[in-house]
């Protein structure tokens, strides 16, 4: 009896992870194993880098009450356009350009955040306006042309691979060793945290569950790094993604600022009466979104090796979709960074798998749309007793 309850709880908590695993298996079988070829595993990360970064920022907007940012795709394009103008047309220093691009992102975030947080214009409207404004400005800056190629220094930061120090033929040992180190560190941290809790007399989770979780995570990390090692090693964009995920996971779960986002989404009035500046929370959400959109803009520009006026189209939809598939509540207040990453991965796997299978582009959109709807239906319905609202 007790085991049964725990099983269903585990199922509920890790639904999307299980779905992700099933989808990967399905595609692997259907593509005759092509899905898991080293190059495809690499592409999964490199092609979707922008989704991971944007979805992380989008989560914080959604947390404040289901608010979305429609402008991120256009901001990605605009930041790229500014970078292209500086680095390609004017041949300016790439590092200076990067700083300017980040500042542009922050400025855009502050602009939109101000209207949303302090004047209380609905985010949907402000960011819809932003979507038009920055798409238009991108075209103005680029004068409707594509600027290429990007300077090498810039590409080295965002588009290359971490060099191998071992020089083995066909296998990037550095990459695999990084995976091993990550696993060891992870296991060490979990065990240490658990021990210190037990020492202080706090409750600890049952060891069996922790062990299974550790084994699954380590196995996934090692398999993943092994595949990357068989290709070109660790792509630089993966480093940026991991950095963003790590920093924002920490902010969301371990800092007071992170807690404010959840509180505002849960009950804004109560949060305000608890002495928390709720306006600032909204402002921070959109300021941060602008910043991460700039980061995504650099990654995207580097990957395309050009700044062009159509870059970033529909990126906002991918980011929003990843958040909701990943379990963020459409009403705000719930959702986690790891959940959103799972959501983004699921979208990426669907894209990749269907492309390998040669599914028609339009049918791919149909499938992705239905998956998004299904995920949110599942999220909403699983929280109440009956399927149809009475």
């Amino acid at each position: 009896m007790e085991n049964k309850i725990r099983f269903s709880e585990v199922l509920k908590k890790y639904t999307m992870v299980i779905v992700l695993a099933l989808v990967i298996i399905l595609f692997t079988v259907n593509t005759g194993g092509k899905m898991l070829l080293p190059q495809n595993v690499n592409n999964l990360i490199v092609q979707n880098a922008y989704v991971f970064i944007l979805a992380t920022g989008m989560l914080f907007c959604i947390l404040t009450g289901g608010n979305i940012d429609l402008s991120v795709g256009s901001v990605v394009c605009f930041v790229g356009a500014v970078g292209g103008k500086m680095m390609v047309t004017n041949e300016m220093n790439p590092y200076l350009s990067i700083i300017v691009m980040l500042l542009v992102g922050l400025l855009i975030g502050a602009w939109q955040g101000f209207w949303i947080a302090y004047v209380r214009i609905p985010p949907f409207i402000v960011t819809l306006a932003g979507m038009l404004v920055f798409r238009g400005l991108s075209n103005v800056v680029l004068e409707g042309m594509t600027l290429a190629p990007m300077p090498d220094n810039f590409l080295a930061l965002f588009n290359n691979y971490i060099p191998d120090f071992f020089g083995m033929e066909g296998f990037n040992m550095t990459c695999f060793l990084v995976g091993v180190v990550v696993c060891v560190l992870y296991v060490f941290m979990v065990l240490k945290g658990r021990a210190s809790r037990a020492k202080k007399g706090y409750r600890v989770e049952p060891f069996g569950g922790v062990l299974i979780k550790m084994i699954v995570i380590c196995a996934a990390v090692l398999a993943f790094m092994f595949r990357l090692a068989q290709y070109k090693g660790i792509p630089n964009s993966l480093v940026w993604i991991v950095l963003v995920i790590a920093v924002y996971t920490y902010i969301a779960s371990k800092t007071t600022v992170g807690r404010y986002f959840y509180a505002v989404g849960g009950n804004e009035k109560a949060t305000k009466l608890s002495g928390i500046n709720t306006n600032r929370v909204y402002f921070l959400a959109y300021l941060n979104m602008g910043f991460l959109a700039a980061v995504a803009g650099m990654v995207t520009t580097a990957r395309l090796n050009s700044a062009n006026p159509t870059a970033g189209t529909n990126f906002e939809m991918d980011a929003i979709g990843a958040c909701f598939i990943g379990g963020a509540s459409a009403y705000g207040g719930t959702g986690t960074v790891p959940g959103v990453i799972i959501g983004a991965l699921l979208m990426g796997v669907l894209n990749l798998g269907m492309s390998i299978m040669g599914v028609d582009q339009n049918m791919q959109k149909v499938v992705k749309g239905l998956v998004l709807l299904a995920a949110v239906i599942f999220d909403v319905v699983s929280k109440r007793k009956s399927f149809i609202v009475k």
């Binding site: 409750r203 009950n267 109560a270 002495g275």
Partner: protein, 512 residues
């Protein structure tokens, strides 16, 4: 013997894991006012939901016999067709529709594609007259007060040709005047032959209007008291509800030495946030000592909550003027953060709307106002947070499996305890408790009173705003009486009586 209009026989209703109703029996005679009382969660509302078809036939066991026939309602329409109309505690009116539109919502006059508005408003006006509401049925709901909205609900029920009217906590959000008017209306209907079932926590009202009282405890009927033959005093009803004789509804406070003045407010004036020429609080001055419970009594709309919230970091109103002294020094509290820093806490009357994050666990709610204490340089110590929340759970005897439980799943009394814990954790010296026992059952009330006693015993000052006179009288060392934004009187706890407080309020309303 009068005809039995409704009989509910051996009703049993189970939810997953809980037996909400266990062989409940209820007999209602035609033309009587039948009261249903019980602690929160006793099963009163569940029983009425079974009766009105919200829980359809088949989802419960037992029989509903109405007007001599067994009824099998599958939805509210079925029961309404028979003349059983339920008015819920939370009013179900749409603010931006007119009174008339609301009254006939789902029941529109004329053909579906061409509603007859003249007939609608004409009839609506008739019913409004019956309930004694002097408003045109073309007025928008948002423009009338809660008391009037309750009357609209009743008029709506009449428009459905109600024969059996069920009122769930009809006076919970009404002030004394409106409550009184509502009760008189029920008595008037009774004379005209209407049968009513009333659910209420306000026992004095029940003793006043009810012919029979059925007591429900833990999902079973305990007893039915008849006005003609039984004692239906408040104490007698409480005894049935809690299953023990509650000789003292207010715990004795061990003698607490009342110390120096801890907070003094002078000439406090607050204007309405939208209509800035209107004074909501008018030149109010009061003080509270260490170790003292000060009650603020008054009718709803007297400006008590507004007074408290405007002091608490200017959370309400505009054009605020006046001075606040804490421990003899003047302080400025412009934000909630300032107020918390000056060790003032305000426990809201609206725990769901303004107090708690229902979708978050107990521990997150407990620490929200004082995250500083469970974090270092902005980084949370999750283990410490858990320990803190657990400590308060034990201290306040909050009933919950763990502090990871979402607050939304707790009963009203336990939610109130979490809210108190949240503010006690900010380590305040002065606590303003706004309606601390609203909508919670007698047992939980007693526990909240004990907590208040512990607080003053520790030398804190408590300002208690309450609309329940017995509570103010039972708990306060000193009572301020507020009316229409002004403090119109001050009495000590010993000399205060319901009569002299009410008479002060009424006198000041007349301008004496």
């Amino acid at each position: 013997m009068a005809k039995i209009l409704l009989e509910m026989k051996n009703i049993t209703k189970t939810f997953p894991g809980v037996k909400a109703l266990d062989n409940v029996n209820l007999k209602v005679e035609e033309g009587e006012i039948h009261a249903l009382v019980g602690e929160n969660g006793a099963g009163k509302s569940t029983l009425m939901n079974v009766l009105s078809g919200i829980y359809p036939y088949g989802s419960y066991e037992g029989d509903i016999i109405y007007n001599g026939e067994i009824c099998r309602f599958t939805n509210i329409k079925d029961s309404e067709a028979k003349g059983i109309v339920i008015i819920h505690q939370e009013l179900a009116l749409i603010p931006y529709m007119t009174i008339g539109e609301n009254m006939y919502l789902g029941n529109e006059k004329g053909p579906a594609f061409s509603i007859n508005w003249n007939e609608t408003y004409g009839e609506a006006d008739e019913y409004l007259k019956t309930v004694g509401l002097e408003e045109s049925s073309r007025t928008l709901i948002k423009d009338i007060g809660v008391g009037k909205q309750q009357l609209v609900e009743i008029a709506k029920a009449l428009a459905k040709h109600a024969k059996l009217l069920i009122l769930d906590e009809p006076t919970a959000s009404l002030n004394e005047d409106d409550s009184k008017a509502l009760l008189e209306l029920l008595l008037k209907f009774k004379k005209e032959g209407m049968t009513s079932i009333i659910i209420s926590h306000k026992l004095n009202e029940i003793s006043y209007v009810a012919d029979k009282i059925t007591v429900i405890r833990d999902g079973s009927t305990i007893e039915t008291l008849d006005k003609k033959t039984d004692d239906i005093s408040e104490n007698r009803i409480i005894q049935g509800m809690v299953g023990r004789e509650l000789t003292d509804r207010f715990p004795k406070r061990p003698h607490v030495k009342i110390g120096d003045v801890s907070m003094e407010v002078k000439n406090w004036t607050v204007h309405h946030p939208l209509y800035s020429e209107r004074k909501v609080v008018d030149n109010a001055s009061f003080k509270v000592h260490k170790g003292e419970v000060v009650g603020i009594s008054g009718l709803m709309g007297a400006g008590r909550t507004e007074l408290a919230m405007s002091i608490f970091g200017k959370s309400y109103g505009t054009g605020i003027s006046g001075q606040v002294f804490i421990d003899g020094k003047e302080v400025k509290m412009n934000t909630v953060t300032d107020a918390i820093k000056h060790k003032v806490a305000y426990v809201t009357e609206d725990r769901k709307g303004n107090g708690l994050i229902l979708s978050s666990p107990i521990k997150i709610n407990t620490t929200l106002a004082n995250l500083k204490n469970v974090s270092k340089r902005g980084v949370l110590d999750n283990d410490k947070e858990y320990a803190v929340a657990d400590e308060y759970r034990e201290k306040l005897k909050t009933k919950c499996p763990t502090v990871e439980q979402n607050v939304g799943n707790l009963s009203g009394g336990n939610q109130q305890k979490v809210l108190l814990a949240k503010w006690m954790f900010t380590e305040p010296d002065i606590l303003i408790l706004d309606e601390p026992t609203r909508g919670i059952d007698v047992g939980a009330k007693y526990e909240i009173y004990c907590i208040i006693n512990d607080l003053v015993a520790a030398g804190k000052s408590v300002i208690m705003i309450s609309s329940e006179l017995p509570e103010v009288l039972g708990m306060s060392d000193r009572i301020y009486i507020m009316n229409e934004g002004k403090i119109v009187g001050e009495v000590s706890g010993q000399e205060a009586t319901q009569e002299n407080i009410m008479s002060r309020i009424l006198k000041s309303s007349k301008g004496e």
